[in-house]
């Protein structure tokens, strides 16, 4: 196993950075105005155990499959220390005393029953070992493992358990869209579940360069750009993921790039180059597919692109190189005076690219390209010009995108000789591969796609 993806790797760079001039490494690799923050935080996380899920006869296999998915989801949530269950405690009535002796805070048990021919009832119990009580019991309907909706239904149960235990949203019931280049030179937009399973192709482009997949806020549609290889025109399309229907959103002559939906799903912001201008920001009414408005006016020979809305829809963060190098700016969503979010240091050669506003707060993730390579950074949109936080250090990391929990981030990168998409937890800085493969780029994380409450079978 490569060092780069070992969970919870502790780095000592923080200490080096604090030594100031004594650290040649930190001095070389971190631009001015950036603080390294790649150390695993040792904050207390509840110890959680998951007993074998029970089921009569052949249902034991179904129960085992469901448990595997939930166990991994809870691990990937990075909110618990997952404790291995001792065989002596893995069956029979639950007695809290031995669990408490093991230091376990939370215990998950579950049983599977059959309801109807092709679906199951999953009865999940969360035990609060510390307080000697059952915290939650709920039954969920889960389709047959062969059904298309099976994995997402189980992921939704995982998110419900995370919410029971922490009061915070999970992100298991979500997917990541990305662009893949095939070995024979075509382009594809792919979608994969948050745990790296269930890889599916949604768009295939042998004659068009595909880029910039972006989810609608309801998770039902995907916008992307397709460039005609004959004339170079780049248009923005939207695909309905349920029906497969595709419609053109913007196809003015020239380049229409980097689409992003407003949180209410009514508007789409994007970059567009017209005539002799470079890319500038525009938005449109994406429901009526009309009413294109210009939001920014870039100075000659500068480009503005990669817009992303704040969760309240009132501001847009974007990339502009109006000062000569790409930096991150914020402006009102209807256009107006831009504010530089990243600090411009004269003479320093660094690029700040592809910002994305957190779905849950004021944090903005983006990436830098400069002497320290390509790395992921976080800025606080409410503090323009403040020192920003660099959360990756090894390999290369680019094109970050937030998970719906506002805590995990997917990025495209390399770790050792591995290439592909990786997921980092902003709190613990743990990094895991999502899906490995060369030419996997431009990941975009979906909103929460399914809520378990919709699956609750109404049986206590």
């Amino acid at each position: 196993m490569r060092r780069g993806i070992l969970p919870f790797r502790t780095l000592t760079i923080m200490a080096l950075a604090c030594m100031g001039g004594a650290s040649a490494l930190a001095a070389q690799e971190v631009p001015e105005g950036v603080r390294l923050s790649v150390t695993y935080q040792t904050a207390y996380r509840p110890k959680l155990a998951i007993r074998t899920f029970t089921g009569e006869g052949e249902l034991a296999t179904v129960a085992q499959g469901i448990r595997e998915i939930i166990n991994r989801d809870l691990d990937y949530s990075d909110r618990f220390d997952i404790v291995t269950v001792p065989p002596s405690l893995d069956s029979g009535p639950v007695d809290y005393a031995p669990w408490r002796d093991l230091g376990v805070d939370l215990l998950v048990t579950a049983a599977v029953e059959r309801i109807g021919g092709s679906s199951y009832l999953l009865r999940v119990t969360l035990h609060d070992v510390l307080y000697n009580r059952v915290s939650q019991i709920r039954a969920f309907e889960v389709p047959d493992p062969t059904a298309d909706e099976y994995r997402m239904a189980v992921h939704a149960v995982s998110d419900e358990v995370v919410f029971w235990a922490t009061g915070q949203p999970g992100y298991a019931a979500s997917r990541v869209a990305f662009r893949r280049t095939t070995s024979d030179g075509a382009w594809e937009i792919m979608v994969v579940d948050s745990d790296g399973e269930n890889l599916q192709r949604v768009v295939y482009g042998p004659l068009h360069v595909l880029r910039s997949p972006a989810w609608s806020p309801d998770g039902r549609r995907l916008a992307y750009t397709a460039q005609d290889l004959e004339n170079g025109n780049t248009a923005i399309f939207e695909r309905d993921l349920e029906t497969g229907a595709v419609r053109v959103l913007v196809d003015r002559p020239g380049l229409n790039v980097t689409p992003s939906y407003s949180p209410d799903g009514r508007r789409l912001a994007f970059g567009m180059s017209r005539g002799n201008t470079e890319s500038e920001l525009y938005d449109m009414d994406v429901v009526q597919r009309c009413c294109i408005r210009q939001l920014t006016q870039a100075p000659p020979r500068s480009a503005e692109m990669s817009p992303s809305y704040s969760p309240d829809g009132r501001q847009i963060v974007y990339m502009s190189d109006r000062l000569g190098q790409p930096h991150i700016y914020i402006m009102p969503a209807d256009g107006g005076t831009p504010t530089a979010l990243t600090r411009y240091v004269p003479g320093q050669r660094v690029e700040y690219l592809t910002p994305e506003w957190s779905p849950t707060g004021s944090q903005v993730v983006f990436w830098s390209r400069g002497a320290g390579g390509s790395q992921i950074l976080i800025a606080d949109a409410s503090r323009p010009g403040a020192v920003v936080e660099q959360i990756t250090l090894e390999g290369t990391s680019s094109d970050p995108s937030w998970a719906p929990d506002g805590r995990h981030i997917v990025f495209s990168g390399t770790r050792g000789n591995q290439r592909g998409l990786f997921v980092i937890d902003m709190v613990t800085k743990r990094i895991r591969p999502l899906i490995l493969g060369g030419n996997y780029e431009l990941p975009s994380w979906s909103p929460a796609l399914q809520s378990a409450s919709a699956l609750a079978a109404g049986v206590p």
Binding site: A186, W187, G205, L207, G271, E278, W367, S374, L442
Partner: protein
């Protein structure tokens, strides 16, 4: 290793992007509109009929018009060697008013595919601005960018990157007959 994307993509013409509306191909000008207005002044090779000579001259002129230029890393300024390439195109553009060019910017594979498309656009625009500054009408020069996705040379090394950071010149009108102006 991986084969040339652009060539293959061009070959797989039978398969269209799922659900994507195909753009109209650029209109090809009629031969009369693009016809020569000057007589060829280059010396005709002996033993060649006038038609073959004209064809050979057109091909030599097209080769000069299509010669690509290269750029430094993450940069879109016109290098001195690229200036020489662009200056060679000028007399041909001046002598053939019907010729129109599309300048395609390209980037190497490093960096974001999205930003690289913007970078390629700026390279194309820089080449266009150079020609316009030397008297070519901007109406004859279109630009676009293919970013990093159409490399000339595969590979993750400086040699491949240097080749791939480029602007290409497609003759989109007036290619049927292009004259070489009289040499000085």
């Amino acid at each position: 290793m991986m084969q040339h994307r652009a060539v293959l993509s061009a070959l797989i013409v039978a398969v269209a992007l799922v659900g994507c509306r195909r753009e109209q191909p650029p209109a090809t000008p009629s031969p009369s509109a693009a016809g020569p207005t000057q007589t060829p002044s280059a010396v005709q090779p002996s033993g060649m009929d006038p038609e073959s000579a004209a064809r050979a001259e057109t091909e030599r002129a097209l080769a000069i018009l299509q010669e690509m230029i290269h750029f430094d890393f993450d940069d879109f300024s016109i290098r001195p060697d690229a200036e020489q390439v662009l200056l060679r195109k000028l007399p041909i553009l001046q002598a053939n008013a019907a010729v129109q060019l599309r300048i395609d910017g390209h980037a190497d594979e490093r960096g974001s595919p999205e930003y690289n498309q913007a970078l390629g656009q700026r390279r194309a625009n820089a080449a266009r601005d150079f020609l316009v500054a030397h008297g070519v009408s901007s109406a004859r020069l279109a630009t676009t960018s293919f970013g990093e996705e159409r490399p000339l040379q595969m590979g993750s090394n400086e040699a491949a990157w240097a080749v791939n950071r480029r602007a290409e010149f497609q003759v989109t009108a007036g290619a049927d007959r292009v004259v070489l102006p009289a040499s000085d």
